[in-house]
């Protein structure tokens, strides 16, 4: 039992029927993926490689055509019940679309808590404050609406909402891609801290390899809907096996151009 990973996707296939062309688009063609307890697993790949689709399938937002998704030893059926949903929660890419503009932060958090817990009244309030503390936001923001908040703050609220019902797995679909670099670091650190504090497992989807390298324990590389390589993070970056992975790693910009060398010689940038 304890050998079983928290999440196991075996040969997951997701297809989209296209209305006009009458052809079938395979977004995910046979993807297998494991996430262990307390692990942060990175899922990297280029745009359109099927990483978001796989993420949505894991959360249950996207029906799968074949294969299976097993969570805590239980294989999900076509419909998930409330308890199934409670185990896996998701954080999305666009911080500006992931909160209801007409709902206060308290409203957003309470909605989830009321649906999944017996907390009411004072206990509900206390839990909201606790969640805000968990994502390092002031409790005073509970009464405000998303309109006045920054992207980073919104993303923290989205994380708080996801964590409100104590999921074992958090699926983070490019959670920092839309944020400034300085804000990105804050969110990445928060996710890393949360893993240590509450033992959260995270499936972290990104195309930013430098973030994946700092945050993740294991990395899966997805290419055209297929997982082409699945290794521990350190190994993969040191010694990539698959050709596509090598290509991906080669695409990381390096600061080793003539400009840096010029600076090292003591000359200044000319302008």
């Amino acid at each position: 039992m304890s050998d079983d990973p928290l999440l196991r996707c075996s040969d997951v296939v997701v297809t989209f029927r296209q209305k006009q062309a009458r052809t079938v688009l395979q977004a995910v063609t046979s993807a297998s993926l494991d996430v262990g307890r307390g692990q942060i697993v990175g899922l990297v790949g280029e745009s359109g490689s099927g990483k978001s689709t796989l993420a949505r399938a894991v959360v249950g937002l996207q029906p799968i055509d074949s294969g299976s998704i097993t969570f805590e030893g239980r294989t999900f059926g076509a419909r998930r019940n409330r308890a199934d949903r409670r185990g896996i929660q998701m954080v999305f890419q666009d911080p500006y679309g992931s909160l209801d503009p007409r709902m206060t932060i308290r409203g957003t958090l309470e909605e989830m808590l009321r649906r999944h817990t017996e907390l009411r009244g004072k206990a509900l309030d206390a839990r909201c404050c606790e969640l805000m503390e968990m994502v390092r936001l002031p409790a005073s923001l509970l009464t405000s609406r998303p309109a006045g908040m920054s992207g980073g703050q919104r993303q923290r609220v989205a994380i708080a909402r996801a964590l409100s019902i104590k999921p074992r797995l958090l699926v983070a679909d490019e959670p920092v891609a839309a944020l400034d670099v300085s804000v990105q670091a804050g969110i990445v650190n928060l996710l890393s801290d949360l893993r240590d504090e509450v033992g959260l497992s995270i499936l972290f989807i990104s195309h930013d390899l430098s973030i994946v390298r700092t945050l993740c324990d294991r990395v899966s590389v997805i290419y055209r809907g297929k997982i082409v390589e699945e290794r521990s993070c350190a190994e993969l970056f040191e010694d990539p096996h698959d050709d596509y992975t090598k290509e991906l790693l080669a695409a990381i910009p390096r600061l080793r151009g003539p400009r840096t060398e010029g600076l090292r010689d003591g000359s200044s940038l000319a302008f």
């Binding site: 896996i88 992931s98 006045g148 909402r161």
Partner: protein, 297 residues
């Protein structure tokens, strides 16, 4: 380079109150949302006059007075009298009662029907959307006025049939408007977050969709009241609307028409003024509300 470390502002500039929406009102009116206030005061005066008609008007709106027909404006008859010697001011004020009541009531029902219809159609999409929108197409296929007039013709004169006729026809506009908004909303990530969070569809529609799509519909409802006033007045003008002894702006204008050539403008001018006043007021309120309810994402 001596650029100092720029602090990250708590509220990014792009989220602050952006440029005001373009409207037809001049700039000084749009500042401080003056148009909303002016419109509210204008419509408020009209509503109060209608509500307290017996106190506002000293004369009866229906009692004829053969001795004082077609008088010009004077102290005792501020708007003069009509061809039967009835006080025009009293008739305009009592007319506000019947016309405004129907205009407002005939907005609420289509608003609610259209809201539900549009949300369901836009959220579920697929064949549900197809069927519902074809139903809306059937109504739109007929010219608005022709359909309303035909319905009133079938249902008979009176306030109730005007209400039913307008409701049957004008819900479509709300449905289309709301459907469009709902389709945009459906792809927002907070909706996906709710679905992933196991929030029931019923609740998503009620607590997330309804408040988010209602804004546009509310703003449209204001201009729809103006439209309704126009419809009611027009129907009455053609003798299809409110039954004669009850004062109404449309029938007043129709009655006054034949006396225009004789130089008696009061009978037509004052009810027409009331229609313009009301329409202007509601347009102001609609534009002002659009601004006030606008919410940043």
């Amino acid at each position: 380079m001596t650029t100092s470390e720029t602090a990250i502002p708590l509220v990014p500039p792009e989220l602050g109150p952006g440029p005001r929406r373009a409207g037809w009102a001049p700039g000084w009116l749009r500042r401080h949302n003056l148009q909303l206030w002016i419109g509210a005061v204008m419509i408020g005066l009209m509503v109060l006059a209608g509500a307290f008609a017996p106190l506002v008007a000293q004369h009866s709106p229906t009692t004829p007075d053969a001795m004082h027909t077609l008088l010009g404006p004077s102290g005792s008859h501020p708007f003069g009298t009509d061809n039967l010697g009835r006080d025009i001011f009293a008739r305009v004020v009592y007319g506000a009662r019947s016309d405004l009541t129907i205009a407002v009531v005939a907005v609420i029902a289509p608003f609610l029907i259209g809201l539900v219809f549009g949300i369901v159609s836009g959220y579920f999409g697929g064949w549900i959307d197809t069927i519902m929108m074809r139903l809306a197409d059937i109504v739109t296929a007929f010219p608005f006025f022709i359909l309303v007039i035909a319905l009133v013709f079938v249902l008979g004169n009176g306030a109730w049939s005007i209400f039913v006729a307008i409701t049957c026809v004008s819900w479509v506009a709300y449905a289309r408007l709301v459907r469009g908004e709902a389709m945009v909303l459906r792809n927002k990530e907070f909706v996906a977050a709710c679905q992933a969070g196991g929030i029931s569809t019923w609740r998503i529609l009620l607590r997330h969709f309804a408040p988010n799509v209602a804004t546009q519909a509310i703003v449209y409802a204001m201009s729809d009241i103006v439209m309704n006033v126009g419809v009611i007045v027009t129907l009455s003008y053609f003798g299809l609307g409110i039954v004669p002894p009850t004062p109404d702006w449309g029938s007043m204008m129709a009655d006054g028409q034949q006396f225009l050539a004789g130089g008696y403008y009061g009978m037509t001018l004052f009810p027409a003024g009331a229609v313009i006043w009301t329409s202007l007021a509601l347009s102001f309120v609609g534009d002002g509300l659009a601004h006030a309810l606008r919410i940043e994402r």
